[in-house]
């Protein structure tokens, strides 16, 4: 346990020194503010760019538009940055050879995996909270926060999908030695999920359902129980990835 806490602290210091924490917070800060702002300004921009004399019927933006922006920007830009920032978490240390000392001094290999996973989930949670907090604040500033429970549920879906990505990054980080390969494999898994999403009968069980359909929670088309299957599948995937990374990392030459 002491080793786990020490290694987690080391991960924390590392994320500060490699600017990981700073970049994630900055990007999610900007995203959080951009969501309500884009929703608010789109009609004005459209009206200004429309040709002279053309009558454009533009509906007044609502709080819903702001959350649609949230569910468009965070899964795309946000998760993309998250994957880029964490793709080198394991492989960077193979290249620098920094695992060798600690493992030969008796640090259990699985402790490394657990500590890395804890810290990546912690950073992701912090970033998403910041983004969600700012979006909520400015959405309330321009409109209102009606249906906050549903909004919160939809954000939890996005959060779970982020954790799934982080656990897959960790697994591929334990398998391959190259940061780019790790990123590509994780991206490949996401592509496979998206391809499987084309089969309507499988959609409900697909983890992509969590980010693809969660705005229907806010519009009221779906309820949380519709997501039970994909949530369970995602959690199973997370657990499998972690167990897989421990097993692969135990056999890995450092």
């Amino acid at each position: 346990m002491r080793a786990y806490i020490a290694f987690t602290k080391k991960e924390w210091v590392e994320s500060i020194r490699t600017y990981r924490l700073f970049i994630l917070l900055a990007v999610f800060f900007v995203l959080g503010i951009m969501n309500p702002l884009t929703a608010k300004l789109t009609p004005t921009l459209l009206a200004n760019f429309a040709p002279e004399g053309m009558v454009v019927e533009i509906p007044t933006p609502t709080a819903l538009d702001s959350w649609i922006q949230f569910h468009k920007n965070v899964p795309q830009m946000g998760l993309f940055v998250l994957v880029i920032m964490f793709s080198g978490a394991m492989t960077g240390e193979y290249n620098k050879g920094t695992f060798v000392n600690m493992v030969t001094k008796g640090l259990k290999r699985r402790t490394i995996i657990f500590a890395k996973f804890t810290m990546s989930v912690l950073l992701w949670t912090m970033s998403l909270l910041l983004c969600f907090g700012l979006s909520s604040y400015y959405t309330a500033y321009y409109w209102n926060l009606d249906g906050f429970t549903q909004i919160l549920q939809s954000v939890i879906c996005v959060w779970l999908f982020g954790i799934l990505l982080l656990s897959m990054l960790l697994f591929f980080g334990a398998v391959v030695r190259n940061g780019y390969a790790c990123m590509m494999f994780t991206g490949g898994m996401v592509v496979i999920f998206f391809l499987l999403n084309m089969l309507p009968s499988l959609q409900k069980y697909n983890p992509v359902y969590l980010v693809g359909s969660c705005q229907s929670l806010i519009t009221g088309e779906l309820v949380m129980s519709d997501f039970t299957a994909s949530i369970i599948i995602s959690i199973v995937f997370v657990v499998l990835s972690i167990v897989g990374s421990v097993l692969c990392f135990d056999r890995k030459k450092l």
């Binding site: 600017y19 970049i23 200004n48 920032m85 080198g88």
Partner: protein, 72 residues
């Protein structure tokens, strides 16, 4: 329908635009100082990274810190 000019739109939404500008500026300055003070990059050269960091809003500094920054 009332058409606001660009300046009025910015003035009206200043409380929300200002924080974005500040954070973008902080990102830019942090990345730029790092590019100028370190001389090793994983690929590319100093001029290339300065251009990327300065002209690609937000994405530039992210790319630099994620894949461009060399190891000390």
């Amino acid at each position: 329908m009332y058409l606001a000019t660009g300046f009025e739109v910015i003035k009206e939404n200043l409380p929300i635009i200002l924080p974005i500008l500040v954070v973008e500026l902080i990102l830019l300055i942090t990345a730029l100082t790092h590019v100028l003070r370190h001389h090793t990059y994983r690929f590319g050269n100093k001029i290339m990274w300065v251009l990327i960091v300065v002209f690609l809003q937000i994405i530039g500094p992210v790319i630099y810190f994620a894949i461009g920054r060399g190891d000390e």
